[in-house]
Subunit: 390 residues, 2 copies
C-alpha cells in the first residue's frame, strides 16, 4: 500500500535529518499524522490516540510507535521493518495515570537515546501539554528543543509524484464542484446537497477514487454567508439567497481545495461587483506568485487591487496546501499575508482563497495553484466567477 517509491521516502528523511542537524537535535519526535505519513507512509484513522514517528539521526529507518491494535496498519502501510514498529498496550489509552507518551519515552530510552537532544514541535496538532510532560518526565537527561514545524517545512516543496496526486485530486474537485453547483437549488435540503458532494468526493473519477478531505464541506447559506466555517443544516436552499461552497478533493491524503459562490436568482449588484473584484484580485495575486517573490508580495498584489475598489480584508488570502489529515488541509507553513517573507519556490502549492466576509453577506472564490519556473499554475480548470442560477 506504499504510495511512493522507497527512494522518495529516503529523500524526505534525508531532508528532515538535514534540518534536524541545523536545529541541533539527534532525535525528532513527530506526533502529527500528516508528518507521520510523509516520513513513513503510515495511514490510518488512529490519530485520536497519541502516536508518533521518531526520526533518529544515525539510524536508517524511523520508528513507528502507536497503539497495539494499529501496529498491523503500520505493517500494512509503511516500509518499516518489524523491529522499528512499537505498539503500546491498551492500558495507555484514555487513561488517568499512564499516557502513550510515557511509552514513547521508554522506547527512546530503550534505543539508547535518553541523553540526546530531542526535537519536538511544541505547537503540533495531536501533542497535548500532558503528552509533552510525559516525555520530559521520563527523559530527564534529554534536552528538548522546540523545532517548530520542521517536517511541515520539508513538505513545502512537492515532488513530481506528489504533484501527480494533486493533479488527480484536481480532476476530482472539478467534478465535485459541478455536482455541488447543480445540487444547490431552491427547495433542496442542504444535507441532501452535501450527500451528493460527499459521494462525488469519494467516487472520484473512473481512474482515481477519492479519499476523505481533512475538512468537511463548508456551506454557509443565506444569512450565514458572512461566516466562513459553518457547515450545513436540514433547511432548504432558498431563492434569492447566496451559498458559499468551500470543498476539496483528496487523493492519497493530498488535497486540492476550491471555493465558489452560488446565487439562486438575480444576483444583488454588490455581490456581482464584488465577485468581479475578487476575480481581478486573484488574477493579480497569481501573476505575482513567481519564484523568488515573497509570500507577502502575492498578498500585496491582491491588496492593491481591492484597495482601488475601496474594499478591506483583514485576514490572510492563502496558505500552503497538500498532504494532510483533519482538522486542516493547510500545512501551517507559508501564509500569503503582510510580513510573510518566505520566498516562493517552484513546486510549492498554495490555496489562494481571498474570502470576503462582510457585515451580513460574503463571497468566496478560490484557486489552488502550484508554482512553476514560469509562475503560478492553477491545478484546476473551472470557471473562476460567481455562479448565478436563475
Amino acid at each position: 500500500m506504499l504510495r511512493f517509491d522507497p527512494a522518495e521516502y529516503a529523500l524526505r528523511l534525508a531532508k528532515t535529518k538535514e534540518s534536524m542537524q541545523e536545529h541541533g537535535v539527534d532525535v525528532l519526535i513527530v506526533p502529527d499524522p500528516a508528518n507521520m505519513n510523509y516520513l513513513t507512509g503510515y495511514d490510518g484513522w488512529s490519530f485520536y490516540v497519541p502516536q508518533a514517528v521518531v526520526v533518529i539521526l544515525d539510524e536508517e529507518q524511523p520508528l513507528w510507535i502507536g497503539r497495539y491494535q494499529d501496529a498491523n496498519a503500520a505493517r500494512a502501510t509503511t516500509y518499516l521493518e518489524q523491529r522499528n514498529i512499537y505498539a503500546y498496550p491498551d492500558v495507555y489509552v484514555h487513561a488517568d495515570i499512564l499516557h502513550p507518551m510515557d511509552y514513547v519515552a521508554n522506547v527512546v530510552t530503550e534505543r539508547g537515546l535518553a541523553t540526546r537532544p530531542i526535537g519536538v514541535n511544541m505547537d503540533a496538532e495531536y501533542l497535548s501539554p500532558r503528552g509533552l510532560a510525559a516525555l520530559q518526565n521520563n527523559l530527564p537527561d534529554a534536552n528538548f528543543v522546540d523545532t517548530g514545524f520542521l517536517v511541515n517545512w520539508v513538505r513545502a516543496v512537492k515532488s513530481q509524484h506528489e504533484l501527480d496526486y494533486m493533479d488527480q485530486a484536481a480532476r476530482i474537485i472539478e467534478h465535485v464542484m459541478q455536482v455541488a453547483i447543480d445540487a444547490v437549488a431552491p427547495g433542496v435540503r442542504q444535507c441532501d446537497a452535501v450527500g451528493k458532494i460527499y459521494q462525488a468526493q469519494m467516487s472520484g473519477t473512473e481512474e482515481f477514487g477519492g479519499d476523505y478531505p481533512a475538512i468537511a464541506p463548508l456551506l454557509p447559506s443565506g444569512p450565514g454567508t458572512n461566516t466562513p466555517h459553518l457547515t450545513w443544516t436540514d433547511d432548504p436552499f432558498r431563492s434569492d439567497e447566496t451559498t458559499i461552497l468551500e470543498l476539496a478533493a483528496c487523493r492519497h491524503r493530498y488535497h486540492v481545495p476550491m471555493a465558489r459562490t452560488v446565487h439562486l436568482g438575480k444576483a444583488p449588484k454588490r455581490l456581482e461587483e464584488t465577485s468581479k473584484i475578487v476575480v481581478e484580485g486573484i488574477e493579480n495575486a497569481l501573476a505575482a506568485a513567481k519564484p523568488g517573490a515573497l509570500c507577502e508580495e502575492v498578498e500585496l498584489a491582491w491588496q492593491r487591487t481591492i484597495q482601488r475598489h475601496g474594499i478591506v480584508k483583514e485576514s490572510r488570502i492563502g496558505y500552503s496546501v497538500g498532504l494532510n489529515y483533519p482538522p486542516d488541509w493547510g500545512e501551517h507553513t507559508m501564509s500569503l499575508r503582510p510580513g510573510n517573507k518566505t520566498e516562493i519556490r517552484p513546486n510549492m502549492c498554495f490555496h489562494l482563497i481571498p474570502g470576503l466576509w462582510l457585515e451580513d453577506w460574503g463571497v468566496e472564490i478560490s484557486e489552488c495553484f502550484r508554482v512553476t519556473e514560469q509562475g503560478a499554475q492553477p491545478f484546476c480548470n473551472f470557471p473562476r466567477q460567481l455562479v448565478i442560477k436563475t
Copy 2:
C-alpha cells in the same frame, strides 16, 4: 440555530461550575470543540486554529474567544451576548511569534481574572504545549490546575433532548448500514461504496438530516481486516473476502456508531463461529450494564464469555459516546475495561465494540446503547450478526 433550550445550557453550566468548585478553580479555559459546543452551542469547523470558551465561576455567561472571521459563527450559533464574544485578528493565525492563547490570556486579564486559579485540561485535544505556555507566560500570577476531562465528565449523563438527537442518529445509522451492506459487492470499488455511505449519512431520513461524523468510514477489507483503523482504497471488493464496516450517523454533533462485518461468499468456519461468540459476548455485556454496575463489570461479562471459547482480547470493549468533533466520537471518559471503577448510571451512553483483530483476519460487531433504570437499551434495531452475502 441553538440546538437546545437556554435552560439546558444553564444546567450544563451549573454542573460545570459545581465541578470547578470541587477542583478549586474560578476560571476554566476550554479549548475542546465538543466542550465549547456543549457549553455555548458554538458549532463551526474552525477548530484548526486555537480557540476557547472560558467559564467564570461568578459570571452568568461564558466567554467565546476565537478567530475574527469566526465571530459571526459565534453570534449565529450561541446564546452569548455580544460583550462575551472576543475575536483575535488574523496575525495570530499560524504565526511564529504570536499565538492565539496569548490573546486568550489577555482577555482573562482584561476581565480581571489574572490572579485567580485557572483550570485547564492538560490533555485536551486542540491545546498544544505552546498554547499552554502562552497562557502561563501571560498569566504569571495565576495558579494553573489540571482539571482533566472535567466538562467531558459533565457530558457523561445525557439529557432527554440529547437522547432524542441520538435516537434520530440511530434512525439514520440503521439506514446507512443497510446502504453499506448493499454496496459491498464483488467488483465494486471501495471508494464507490464509501460514496454511497457518505450520501446516506448526510441525507439521513426525510425527517432528520445528517451531520458529519467525527470519524470517517472505517472499512478494512480483505487482508486488512486484522487492523481496525484503515479507511478505503480504489480496489474492488472481492469474492471470498471479508470487509469490516465501522460507521456512525451524526445528528447535531451527536453520534450513534455501528460496526458490522460482511463476508462475500461462503464464510470461513472460524469467522462464523467467532462472530457467534462475539454476539454472545455482547449479549452478556449488555445484560451486565445495569445502573450501579461498574464499567469493569461489563467487560468482565464479555471476558468470561470469550474465555469459555478460548479467545483473548487485549483492548477495551467500549467507551462513552455522544457529542463530538473529529478526530473521535468517543468522549474520553468511561472505558469498558478491567480496572475502570466508574459506576454506570442511567442516561450514560456507550459504544460497545468488542472488535477482534487476530493474526490475519478480524471481526467487528457493535452495539450503541443507553443505560436506563432497567439496564442497557440499544439505540438501534439492526440484526446483530455476521452478514454473509452469497
